[in-house]
Amino acid sequence: MEIIEKALHDGLTTLSEFQSKQILSVYGIPVTTEVAIDSIEALDVAIERIGYPLVLKGCSAQIAHKTEKGLIALDIRTREEAEAACQAMIAKMDDPTAQVLVQEMIKGQRELVVGMTRDPQFGPCVMFGLGGIFTEILRDVAFRVAPLTRYDAMELMQDIKGKKILEAVRGMAAVDREVLADILIAVGRIGLENESIQEIDINPLKIRGNQPVAVDALVVLQPKA
């Protein structure tokens, strides 16, 4: 894929959130609607396209942990808020290629994680588990080796302690497991079909209504030897 080739050529080991999601999209994984802008001038067009409420994120291939660096502004509802947040982010990122991502705000209380990593014995493996801050705190995740069959994907969802999160709980709809299975299978395929992708994080994969949407993503590249 062109994005990957270019990043490798530029000596990068990760793709930005925007680029990472473009790769997910190619494989049919639902991602947030978003526009990447280079300057304040482009903000109005982006806002018109996305609509309020929206999220702004500093977007740079060199920055993997946006939350810790104050590069995420949530639930923006006015032009003034948007401009102030956008300017603050541009000032914080010391990267001439950095952009600001104008992103739809996904409502939903449930956050999952889906990922891919390469195991020396089994090759590309797909991870599924509880997302957001719980990924690191609870480490409630499970793996399957790619390629995943639909059966494997369904079993993987049942393989975490917090599997009830997928059911109809506290007034929320049961998650569409078919779509989730498609995502798990697709992430495995990305690993199998792209040697230079070393790891993938989709975290959080939020549940809007009953549909999963990739809200943040990170693709880690393996530089060619």
Binding site: T13, F122, M127, V141, A142, V145, P147, E199, D201, L218
Partner: protein, 503 residues
């Protein structure tokens, strides 16, 4: 289709075996292994090879393998490492199909050893010889009564076959098996896996009709994809039970992503094993416990457990263990309670677990077990206190008086001795119920060290000394049933390579 159709029949069941490095000197491996083979009454013929001897242990000795007048199926080598390479040439000229290289000092010790091993493997491939090891503790084959093993042990014969990436773990399993009444069909210590790997053995055991259950001790698999594919193709038909060593090793590399940092050897292997329907156990004893149940009992068709106990507390902890393991202990229906009312005192608990309230006269256990097994609301039973055989009924010899007490003790001792000798009707009943209902009934009994082997061999009843061990085994059986049940028709699809999951 399995990836290979390598036939290892002659390796595990050879007619003629050469022992290169056979020795008359006690304490040398070339002596110990030869004695192990001979004392087990190997059905084939053994040809010791040693240029310095004319006869060893009463068998004529040959100066080189080329001097043996018969064709050789397996040559077992115990000579020092530096002599092995030349011996491979001799075996090649003799057209020996299999070499078992016990000798150590290869890739497991040094860079030079690694080169030497590569050279030997390359030579063997040139001659079309397949290698076990090097650095193997040997192999066992029940059909030929082949005990080509380093340690002095006599595994029981049975239907379980095992590959082990650690010789001593494997040998320990056969020793446990002896105590638990678990018989082996084939065993191989895979050593450094210079040529034949655990996946080759897995595929062979999968095809081997005499093997009912495959056991494995695994530390690392070079070709994970092939292992998965082979295991997947087999697991639905024949249980594969594996223990993975090296679970706690920290991740091998620093990861840039959350996914990478979560991907330790435990998590990935666990996922891969589940995907392939491989039963993963976490302790060595559990490996033998599972082998015993899977090899001798039907797989339950669900996870609902009935519990019959001779004591309340025993039932309580068993029910707890079941619930914690995700097994269901369902309440009894009214009609079943009415039937059991006929057998037990008025005050019985009328629930599951069924507490027999320590009634031993007119033992209600066999009928209770039958009523429970025939009820379609449960899939398996745990019978606590089923076996009385081999019960340790011992009295202190220090009790010398009064005379009446001494004679009462003597009477009880005799009673238990007779009971131990007469057939155990409860266990006989269990075996018959397992056959007629197809439901596993696991016994939990107190008794001497060999009680459970005795229950297995004499009554064909799977029995453990603690409820927790029984429950753990049942849990694994239920998970396996879940896998075979769900995988059903899709197994064929997986094997035909239609793996992308597009629908």
């Amino acid at each position: 289709m399995l990836a290979s159709s390598l036939n290892l029949d002659r390796l595990f069941n050879p007619s003629n075996l050469a022992m290169i490095g056979a020795s008359a000197q006690a304490g040398k491996w070339g002596n110990i292994i030869l004695i192990n083979i001979l004392k087990a009454n190997f059905k084939g013929r053994v040809f010791p090879v040693n240029p310095k001897e004319s006869s060893i242990l009463g068998f004529p000795c040959f100066a080189s393998i080329g001097d043996i007048p018969e064709p050789i199926d397996v040559a077992l080598i115990t000579t020092p490492a530096e002599r092995v390479s030349a011996l491979v040439d001799e075996c090649g000229r003799k057209q020996v199909p299999f070499l078992v290289i016990v000798t150590s000092g290869f890739s497991e010790v040094s860079q030079d050893g690694m080169q030497l091993e590569a050279e030997i493997v390359a030579k063997a491939r040139h001659y079309g010889i397949r290698l076990v090891g090097p650095n193997t503790m040997g192999l066992f084959g029940a059909t030929a009564s082949l005990h080509a093993l380093m340690p002095m042990l006599m595994p029981l014969q049975g239907t379980v076959s095992m590959f082990s990436q650690s010789g001593n773990v494997g040998v320990q399993m056969m020793d446990y098996g002896q105590k638990e009444g678990v018989g082996f069909q084939k065993f191989v210590s895979s050593g450094n896996e210079g040529d034949l790997t655990c996946v080759d053995y897995l595929e062979y055991f999968a095809r081997d009709e005499a093997t009912r259950v495959v056991l494995g001790y695994i530390e690392g698999i070079d070709d994970g994809a092939r292992f998965l594919k082979s295991a997947q193709a087999v697991a639905g038909r024949k249980p594969i039970i594996v223990m993975k060593g090296g679970r706690t090793g920290v991740g091998s590399r620093a990861a840039a992503s959350h996914t990478g940092s979560m991907a330790g050897p435990i998590a990935i292997n666990r996922g891969a094993f589940k995907q392939a329907g491989v039963v993963e156990v976490l302790s060595s004893l559990e490996l033998i416990d599972c082998a015993k149940a899977f090899a001798n009992y039907p797989i339950p068709k669900g996870n609902r457990v009935g519990i019959v106990t001779r004591g309340g507390g025993w039932g309580v902890i068993t029910a707890d263990a079941c619930e914690e393991a995700g097994l269901i202990v369902p309440p009894l229906p009214a009609d079943l309670i009415r039937e059991i009312d006929q057998l037990l005192p008025d005050y019985w608990n009328r629930g599951n677990p069924i507490d027999l309230v320590a009634t031993i006269r007119d033992d209600p256990m066999p009928t209770c077990l039958r009523l429970l097994a025939e009820w379609d609301g449960i899939d398996a039973i745990i019978a606590l206190g089923a076996g009385f055989q081999s019960f340790n009924y011992q009295f202190s010899e220090a009790v010398q008086e009064p005379e009446e007490l001494v004679s009462a003790i003597a009477f009880m001792t005799e009673l238990f001795r007779r009971r131990g000798e007469s057939p155990d009707t409860v266990l006989e009943g269990i075996a018959a119920l397992v056959r007629s209902t197809g439901k596993p009934i696991i016994s939990v009994s107190i008794g001497s060290d060999y009680a459970h082997r005795h229950y297995m061999e004499r009554y064909h009843v799977v029995s453990f000394p603690t409820p927790e061990r029984a429950v753990r085994v049942l849990k694994h059986m239920c998970e396996y049933d879940d896998f075979t049940g769900k995988i059903g028709g899709t197994l064929e699809n997986q094997q035909s390579g239609e793996c992308h999951g597009d629908h």
